[in-house]
Every structure is written in C-alpha cells, then in structure tokens.
Symmetry: C2
Subunit: 339 residues, 2 copies
DNA sequence: CTTGAAAAGAGGTACGTTCCTCAGATACGG
DNA sequence: CCGTATCTGAGGAACGTACCTCTTTTCAAG
C-alpha cells in the first residue's frame, strides 16, 4: 500500500496539519520538525497523489497558448493538434485559451499578453521568436507566478521554465547527413527559406553548414535563396536555379515556403533530384506522396502540444517532469514511414 | 465550470444514485431512465473525472508485462524503459509485475500466466510471438476480465484489446526506400536475420520485397542469411558474403543479431556500403556512431512502454484511447538525429 | 516568572466520484 | 387488489489531499 499523509504524520510523530505545512512549504514549522517530516517522507517513500491533491484543491489549470497567426501551414497544423489534444482526456482539468499573434509585429506578443488578466492564468506556452519585447513579456509572466514554456523555438535567455521542441542545429545537421546520403554524386546544393533572420532558420543553416562537408565531400552549396514570404519570389528564384544548373543535385528548404517551392518544382523537377524540407503539413505530405520531396525532417505536432500541456501541468503541480517523455525527436519521414 | 454527477442528476430529474448506476452500467435502471440520464450527459457535455473516480474506487491498477527473457538487446532496452516509466508519476496507482519468459519455449507464456493469480491482476501487456498456446492464454486472460495489450508484435487473432507497436510490413517498406535512396548505384543487397520464422521478420521481409524494386530498380537481393541465434554462424556467413561479393552495396538486418553482424563487418567493412538495421540498443547505437551502420529503423522503447501503460489504464478506466498519441512511429535514426 | 509570538496539534469541511444500505415507488402477473 | 420483483431515491462513508479555524504547547525575551 502506498503511504499517505497520515502514515507520514504517524511516522514523524507530528500532526497531519504539520505534515501538510511541510509538504506545501507553508510557514510555521521549526527546522527540526521539517527535517523529521522529510525523513519520514524519505523512509516511507511517500509521493503525493497528484490526483487527490488537485481534487482537493479544486484546481483547474488555465493555460494559454500563443501561436503565430497568418499563413504558415505548420502553425495551422499545430493549432489543429492542440485542439485535438484539448478534446482528449489528457486535458482534463485544463482550460485552454489560444492567442494568435502576428509573427511580424514585434510588439504583438507583449500587447496580447498585456490584454490578458494574468491572475486568471496558470501557465503560458509560447511559439514566438525571441525579441527584447518577448523577453520583457516573459519576465512579466514569471513575476505573476505563471509557468512558461517555450514551444518550437526556444527562448533561452528569458527565464522560461522549459523548452518543448527540437534542437535546430541538430536538425540542420540531420538535413546535411540525409542529403549527403541521398545524392548519388557530389554536386550543387541549394538552400531556400522564407526568412533567414529567424532563429530557427539560422540555427538549421548553422548545423547544415557544419556537417555538409563531412557527409557530402565535394559538394558545393549555392548562395541561399531568401523569399521574404513572397511565394512569387520563391517560385521565381527556384525555377531559375533549377533550370540553369544541370548539376543541381539537392534542394534544402530550411523553413516555410514549401508550397511555393513545390509549385515551382512541379514544372521544373527532374528525376533523381533530392529535395529535403521541414515539417509535416498537408503541403509537404502531398509532396512526399508525389515524390517531389525526398524526405522531411519533422517534429511531431501532436507530441509537441501534448508535451507542452503535460509540462505546464507538471510545473504547476510541482511534479517532476519525465524528460525522456518530453524530448521531441528529430524525425525523418519519407514516403514509406509516413502514416 | 465542468458539470458533475450532481448537475446530471438535477438535469435528468433523477437521483445521484441512478446517475451513478447508468454511468457505470449497473443493473436496476429502466430503459427510459437510462435515456434521460444519457440525454443530460449529452446536453451538459459531462465527462467523468477519471482522477476522482479512481480515488473513490481506491483503485490501484495491477498490470503485468510479459517480456522475452534471454539474449536480445532490444528486450533489455525495453525492460529498462519500462522500469523508468514505472518510476515516473505517469505510473501512479499502478502496480507492475514483469514476467520474463523464454521466447523459444512455446508453452512458457501459458505456464507463466497460469502460475499467476489472475484475480490479482487488471491487465497484461504481452511481447510474445503468436502461437496456439498464446492464443489460448490470451483467451483465458480475457475470460478473467483483464485488459490485454499486444506489445511490439501484434496478436491479431487472439482478441487482444489493443496493439502497441509498429506495422512491420511498413517498416520493411521503409527499409527498402531507405536502402534504395542511400546506395549510390544498383547492385546486390543482402538480408540477414536470426530467425526468419518470427512474424516480425517475416512481415518486414514482405514489405521489403514489395518495395525494393520500386526504390532500387536494377538491384539484386541475395538469398537471406539466417543465423538461428548463433553469433558465430551470423559472423561467418556475413564475412563470407561481404568478402566474396565486391558488388554488395547494402545489408539489411531484419531482426536481432546485430552484435554478431557488426563484429563481422568491423573486419570486412568498406566505405560506401549501406547497412540498415532495426531498433536502437547499445550495440546499434555504437554502430551508428562508428559509421558501421548507415541508418536504423526504430520504434521508441520509451514510447512503447508508456503507451502500453496508458492504454492498459484507459481500458480499465473505460476512458477513450487517444489513438494519435498511442500510434508508434516508424522512426528513421541516423547519426545526426540520434540524441 | 510572565508574556507573547511562533510552532504544533486537533478537528473539521471540501473536492467528485464510487459504492453501500435502506426505504419507497412502480410495474406486472395472478 | 395483492404480492413480489424491479426500479429509484435519499443519504452517507470513503478515497487522499488541501486548507480552514481554533486550541494548546514551546520557548525565548522582558
């Protein structure tokens, strides 16, 4: 039988109230008594029953997710996964608010959070780029005592409690290994992205550059095509390079903009050309199915949102986080292991 | 506020006891009354609080995991993951028994389960090959009212409640795509395994054969090397083929026996040869790190055991299973996305 | 010593559900 | 119309924890 607070009280020779005070770190207990209680906890191997605790507390976790609004397919896919997770038993005792903010307005995150009553919130998961404004906003959240989780893009110097997502540098290295393995002979490689300034693209590129020489010796990486969220520009640039470069062996799409890329490739694609992109969305899924894309580097959106929810809850319940469970894997998805 | 049984009772115009009887499908309620209660449940969107329910029930889930004993690295890795999951908050209210059975004795599973007092058990997860004896054993478990989950290898015609693991045919197809993509020119491909008779090896081979022609046109698949769990035999056969066949472009290790394979390759390996195996274990991890292995097809053991625990619990709590969360992905692991 | 605050004890209610008992109501065949 | 079987109601205890109030003890400063 698992020990309860009553067992602890008996074992420590104190009352239930004192055990409760120690367990919940409330004041009014002498140091020696605290030690006695903690000793009993150790000896009996007591672990608080989080379910009973929440029940008693009548606690409902109120979490907010801040997601980028607008075009990106990935954000939409993630949003859908979030709503699915929210409908599942995994989310019981959770009240969810989803806030979408423009990824282009640096003040949007701060303003949106400012418009929220923080006392009506227990935790926030943020999928945003790190900016000074975001740093301030996170600091405000922490001051209000909220749990803060960075989602997809880390916010390392903000004091967030946890990061749920993949290591972008490692993702870039993985792309390099994949492309190096898949191309039949060393030739030219083109990197494309919508915005090179974003932290994720930057880090992926870093990892890619660091690893490509080892995995594709002799290959040449062409100057990056940056489309600045303009589909026409992306299509245009890709078409030009693909047609003018017979030696082009691979394309690495580091960020968003896959719809335009695939549209352009559709008319210019030749057999044997390796194309690697990120994230599984309706667009990239179709690309895999038709063979326009060779492989994808993916973080499972379902895993991301469930992980974020679990981590937020664990932080609030003061329960240890199962790191292994919350580690998001860098997945390689090809047509045959797409399910 | 989430509706409670009290709200349902009020809404349906019945007493709390009746709501409880309907909710738990106990006898003694007229059909019309059942309908009234279910209508109220629908209207208010009531979902039972599984935590409070378990608390009230004082229920502790007693689950048993049946794992293969003996050599296999994979089983050991899975066992370790199970113990880790068991120590985590994920497993609270769960009492775990691990039973190891010889994978070679067809009666072992049945005998081991027969030695257990089934009334002291709520659910069983089985990682075993399907045999007539196993079918009977599972039938006995179901008769005793237990939840039964097939782990890693499915037991499709036994009446198990759920299967946690990957589709082996799809895994074989993935191996084919991977090898087809990674080899530089069509040549010879060698398949090796310890035991071709096992369902998993069989199905992987099926998928591999069905897909290899499409992904490696012109390649030739050599007769399979079967080592019958004899490391010397494996090493011997592999060394012979590798040395006598200069055109050997790839090796696909379909099952266990990777330690012997890698030992043999260590002395015979040449650059550029593609080697794909299954499962992430200390042995294959080292193989990836040294470059002896090109890629692995992996099912995450942590995910497997956590999934099995969650599914068993959901089955017992009569709570819907989040299929997306429990779907085990066919992961492709290379050196750079090995974390 | 006395005083008084800090520390500890005692006992209670509540959370949402399960499950029990006992009593009262309804239905139905004879 | 009665007896009996089936349904339903009312109420309460329990699960393990949180948190509240009220009392009692401890202990050091005055």
């Amino acid at each position: 039988m698992k020990p309860t607070v009553h067992d602890i009280a008996r074992e420590a020779g104190v009352s239930l109230a004192t055990v409760d005070r120690v367990l919940n770190q409330r004041p009014g207990v002498r140091a020696v008594t605290i030690a006695k209680v903690q000793g009993a906890v150790q000896r009996l191997g007591y672990v608080r029953d989080a379910h009973a605790a929440n029940l008693a507390r009548g606690r409902r976790h109120r979490f907010a997710f801040v997601l980028p609004s607008g075009a990106g397919q990935f954000a939409k896919t993630l949003h859908a996964a979030l709503m699915e997770a929210y409908a599942s038993p995994l989310a019981d005792r959770i009240e969810l608010t989803v806030l979408t903010v423009s990824p282009h307005d640096p003040h949007a995150v701060a303003n949106t959070l400012k418009s929220q009553d923080l006392s009506k919130l227990d935790g926030v998961a943020l999928m945003v780029q790190e900016t000074p404004q975001v740093r301030d906003a996170v600091a405000a959240l922490k001051r209000a005592g909220l749990a803060v989780v960075a989602l997809v893009s880390d916010l390392p110097s903000t004091g967030r409690d946890y990061f749920v997502g993949i290591n972008s540098v490692a993702a870039g290295r993985t792309a390099a290994q994949l492309i190096g393995g898949l191309i039949k002979e060393p030739a030219e490689i083109l990197c494309v992205t919508n915005a090179l300034r974003s932290r994720d693209s930057l880090e992926r590129r870093l990892g890619f550059d660091a690893a490509i020489a080892a995995y594709a010796p002799g290959a040449r990486v062409l100057p990056t095509v940056e489309a600045f969220d303009d589909p026409a520009r992306m299509a245009d640039a890709v078409t030009r390079v693909a047609q003018s470069r017979p030696a082009l062996a691979a394309i690495y799409s580091m960020g968003s903009g896959n719809a335009a890329l695939l549209a352009a490739l559709g008319s210019a694609r030749q057999g044997g050309r390796v194309v690697v992109a990120h994230e599984l969305t309706p667009v990239t899924r179709a690309g895999l199915a038709t063979g326009a894309l060779s492989a994808l580097i993916v973080q499972d959106v379902g895993h991301l949102v469930r992980s974020a929810l679990r981590v937020l809850r664990s932080l609030r319940d003061d329960v240890p986080i199962v790191a292994a469970q919350e580690r998001i894997r860098i997945e390689i998805v090809m047509r045959e292991n797409l399910q």
